[in-house]
């Protein structure tokens, strides 16, 4: 790929793939950062030797299967497991009765506040099944086939209840209540009545009414988005061994081994000291592998089966039906501008479906919604609503895509009605340092305007698009990113290599990006750092790989380790050379003091003749910089079928500092690919009773390589002031703009403004027919 660089914000790259130096600081002098070495786990992965969770084998391994509710909403009157227990080869059967009683209380497990009863209920349903696919019982047997047969022998007596599937269902006056003890939490003010509205909050500043009243132009639209899944390629899988001495080991595919440890400990009321979680390689997570599903069940079965190891591997139907998708939503957006095109007021109302238990990503969505714009008069309302769908989980910039689809559609319409170029409108109104995000907090240095400028100056945007039913759209997006806690150790080898142990699951090449930061700090080669992802017994607490935090925060720990190792090496060399430690300097991989000098490799041996050298680091950096992205897409519509073909796609993203540019580009392309799927195809389809009808990847249509063009990337580098190398999280913001950009391109191609996702062939054709009918003065199809 082209890897060009320019100095100064005015000089932007016109190449399809390139870099923009957002601060105009020019060459940075790094030796390792910015290069593209091979990832440490690459050979094992491409040769099939990497061990994933389903690969775990051991003597006496039993196989677990889970019985799931065929109903979306039902009381569980009774569960009869006697026939299953009597089946030869079955070693254990468990239900919710085997789980410790969980308190109806909110706790912070270090992975965010969560109601302990809801956490436990989602593992195995207690009194009620709350979604189609809700786990009800589980079996361990000597073969997967026997386990499957045993599951079919379990009798569950259900008392069916009406399914509550949408925001509108859940908020209706006569709506069935999912959770008897749930009361609305309005920023600490707790409601008195049972409800499906778990929480409500508001961001507000300025005088909204006056601003709307004085506006030159106001656009107001309502939108609907459907439930979608993360679609990681590797289903959830875990093996648990409950040893006779009470120690428990779990091998699992997870974004956070410590998150698994904390959740399992809380659900099963086991001290964390008795739990060791070993993270296997992971085949994608995107936020969906933070919550536990099978791990506590495997532990229970292992104990009940007489301390034999139990492995549970989900199939794709289980994954789609029972693991966290992300929320469907109803969104209303209203934005006003003055005669010059300056946004004067913005209102967003976000109603997010949390699934069966509270905790939709509406809080994050609220901050994403109007974040790219500087707005003095603003209000964002967020509603977290329970429905009879799987408990929602994080999905790459959780909640952001829904909100940006709505806001960016309205922004595009405003620009069009003003007769302004869509990029110029965003530059005019773009947020910058000292402006405020929707919740009022001020931005530090950010790169939103730079990403719009990069798109505007890209070869893509500068090339006109011709042809009927072809259109172009752009959209911007924001993600807050995160810091979180990281721990790591580094042991110096006498040959000058360093063993780096850290506990951040490597999903997108973070072994490489963390190794590179330690190598840069030590001024040694990338190949001299050997990085391992270790278990929960080996390093201190470490937050999940999520929130786009790992290269930032675990990278911070690696930088810190480098400083500590260098300092101690200087101290020991000073002792050897009989000089003061202040007299020892280090430059370009060589230690100096007077006439003495020693390269790092030799120094590593000298300083460890009497005592080994190891450093540890624990960090919790707070000044993580947010990420922005602006994207441009060309589409072509087949007016006969409604199919959208993506002709060309360019993404510009403020990446802070790209440690390993190839993996940054990969993150950008991956986020866009998922966003395209979300925009044009993906949705959970339920019948009226709440049965999921498309729990397979044949029917839940995700994009394949054949559906996507090359996604061109422009790395805009506006270093984050909160990191020694300027790193910003890069994994998530890229999924925020695609749906809005594609909706705007579809409008450009057809004249139809889509107010719902996905823009599937059926939905698009209906909208196009409705527009044609309206234009012809005929009844609109579907309207009664």
């Amino acid at each position: 790929m082209a890897d060009t660089k320019h100095n100064g914000t005015a000089a932007y790259d016109l190449a399809s793939n390139g870099k923009v130096d957002g601060d105009g600081t020019g060459q940075n002098g790094y030796k390792v950062i910015g290069t593209r070495p091979v990832r440490p786990d690459g050979v094992d992965k491409v040769t099939g030797r990497a061990v994933y969770a389903a690969d775990v084998q051991m003597t006496g391994l039993l196989h677990g299967k889970i019985l799931r509710s065929p109903h979306a909403h039902a009381h569980i009157r009774s569960i009869d497991t006697s026939k299953a227990e009597a089946l030869p080869g079955v070693r254990a059967v468990v239900t919710a009765a085997d789980l410790p009683v969980a308190e109806d209380k909110i706790e912070d497990l270090g992975e965010g506040a969560i109601n302990l009863k809801y956490l436990s209920d989602n593992i195995l349903a207690h009194e009620k099944a709350l979604y189609h696919g809700h786990a009800v019982a589980a079996v361990a047997a000597i073969s997967p086939h026997i386990a499957e047969e045993a599951v079919s022998l379990i009798d569950v007596d259900y008392d069916l209840l009406p399914a509550v599937m949408t925001v509108d269902d859940a908020l209706a006056d006569d709506a069935p209540i999912l959770l008897d003890t749930l009361r609305t939490d309005a920023m600490g003010e707790i409601g008195a009545q049972p409800t499906n509205l778990a929480s409500f909050f508001r961001h507000q500043r300025g005088d909204l009414d006056a601003a709307f009243a004085d506006a030159h132009l106001v656009v107001e639209r309502a939108f609907r988005t459907e439930t979608v899944h993360q679609g990681y390629i590797e289903p959830q899988a875990a093996t648990a061994l409950y040893s006779a001495d009470g120690q428990i080991t779990i091998w699992t595919s997870t974004q956070g081994s410590f998150a698994v440890r904390g959740q399992v400990a809380e659900i099963l009321k086991i001290p964390v000291s008795r739990l060791k979680v070993i993270p296997t390689e992971i085949g994608g997570g995107f936020g969906g592998k933070i919550n536990v599903y099978v791990e506590p069940v495997a532990v229970l079965l292992s104990q009940k089966a007489g301390y034999e190891p139990v492995k549970i591997v989900m199939n794709r139907a289980d994954v789609l039906a029972a693991t966290g998708p992300t929320s469907g939503s109803n969104i209303r957006v209203k934005i006003a501008v003055d005669v010059n095109g300056k946004i004067t007021a913005g209102l967003a109302e976000l109603y997010y479906e949390a699934g069966a238990y509270p905790g939709s990503p509406v809080g994050a969505a609220a901050n994403v919604s109007l974040a790219p714009y500087a707005i003095d008069n603003l209000q964002v309302d967020g509603y977290d609503i329970v429905v009879n769908r799987p408990r929602s989980a994080a999905y790459r910039a959780p909640g952001g895509t829904n909100a940006a689809f709505a806001v960016e559609s309205v922004v595009d319409e405003l620009a069009e009605k003003l007769g302004m170029d869509a990029a110029d409108f965003r530059i005019l109104n773009g947020a910058k340092e000292k402006d405020r995000r929707p919740d009022g907090v001020q931005y530090a240095r950010i790169g939103q305007i730079e990403t719009v400028q990069a798109i505007k100056n890209s070869r893509h945007y500068q090339t006109s698009l011709e042809g009927k039913y072809r259109g172009r759209g752009i959209a911007s997006g924001y993600w807050n990113n995160w810091g979180g806690q990281s721990s790591a150790t580094a042991a110096l080898n006498p040959d000058g290599t360093v063993n780096l142990n850290e506990a951040s699951t490597d999903i997108g090449g973070t072994r490489a990006s963390i190794s590179m930061q330690l190598a840069e700090a030590l001024e040694i080669g990338y190949e001299q750092v050997k990085t391992r992802v270790v278990d929960t017994d080996t390093v201190a607490y470490n937050d999940v790989t999520g929130g786009s935090r790992t290269t930032f925060a675990t990278g911070w720990a690696a930088y810190d380790l480098g400083q500590k190792l260098k300092q101690e090496m200087k101290r020991r060399l000073a002792d050897v050379w009989d000089v003061s430690p202040q007299d020892v300097s280090y430059e370009d991989g060589i230690f100096y003091a007077g006439d003495e000098s020693l390269p790092f490799v030799e120094a590593a041996n000298v300083v460890q003749r009497e005592e080994p050298l190891m450093a540890s680091s624990t960090v919790h950096p707070q000044d993580f910089g947010p990420g922005f992205s602006t994207q441009c897409v060309d589409v072509e519509i087949d007016p006969e079928t409604g199919k959208i073909t993506i002709l060309r796609y360019t993404i510009a993203q403020d990446v802070g500092k790209a440690i390993h540019p190839s993996y940054v580009e990969g993150q950008m392309q991956g986020g866009v690919a998922q966003g395209i799927g979300w925009a044009i195809n993906e949705e959970y389809i339920y019948d009226d009773e709440g049965h999921l009808l498309n729990a397979s990847l044949l029917d839940y249509r995700m994009p394949t390589a054949l559906d996507l063009p090359m996604i061109d990337t422009i790395l805009v580098e506006v270093p984050s002031p909160g990191h020694p190398y300027g790193v910003r999280g890069v994994g998530e913001v890229n999924i925020v703009p695609p749906a809005g950009a594609i909706a705007n391109a579809v409008y450009d191609a057809t004249g139809v403004r889509m107010d719902k996702l996905p823009i599937s062939p059926a939905n698009l054709l209906e909208a196009m027919w409705a527009k044609e009918a309206e234009a012809a003065g005929k009844p609109v199809p579907g309207d009664d």
């Binding site: 920023m187 909050f201 507000q204 994050a364 530090a444 999940v544």
Partner: protein, 92 residues
């Protein structure tokens, strides 16, 4: 004095004021000062001696993991904002 942005749903306690100034060297001291002037504020912010679950505090643009113990400067800007819920989003 530090400037505290009052969450909209708590402004009924501050007679509609969006921004209130208060003295204190930590978030805990600010909340105490606020509660003295506007009774009920502390109850909405604090639960069992900590920032209420689902709520976070940002001082000068940065979310504070130290919560009530976070240091505040005389010219600081303090926001109490909803935690960003949703999987890893809830971790923030």
């Amino acid at each position: 004095m530090a400037k505290i942005w009052i969450p909209p749903l708590m402004r009924s306690l501050t007679a509609g004021q969006q921004i209130v100034e208060a003295e204190g060297e930590t978030v805990r001291e600010l909340v105490a000062a606020l509660d003295e002037r506007f009774p009920g504020v502390a109850e909405r912010i604090i639960d069992e001696g900590r920032i209420r679950p689902g709520l976070t505090v940002a001082v000068d643009g940065a979310v504070q993991s130290r919560g009530l113990r976070a240091a505040v400067a005389p010219d600081s800007e303090v926001h109490f904002v909803p935690a960003m819920t949703g999987g890893e989003g809830s971790l923030q």
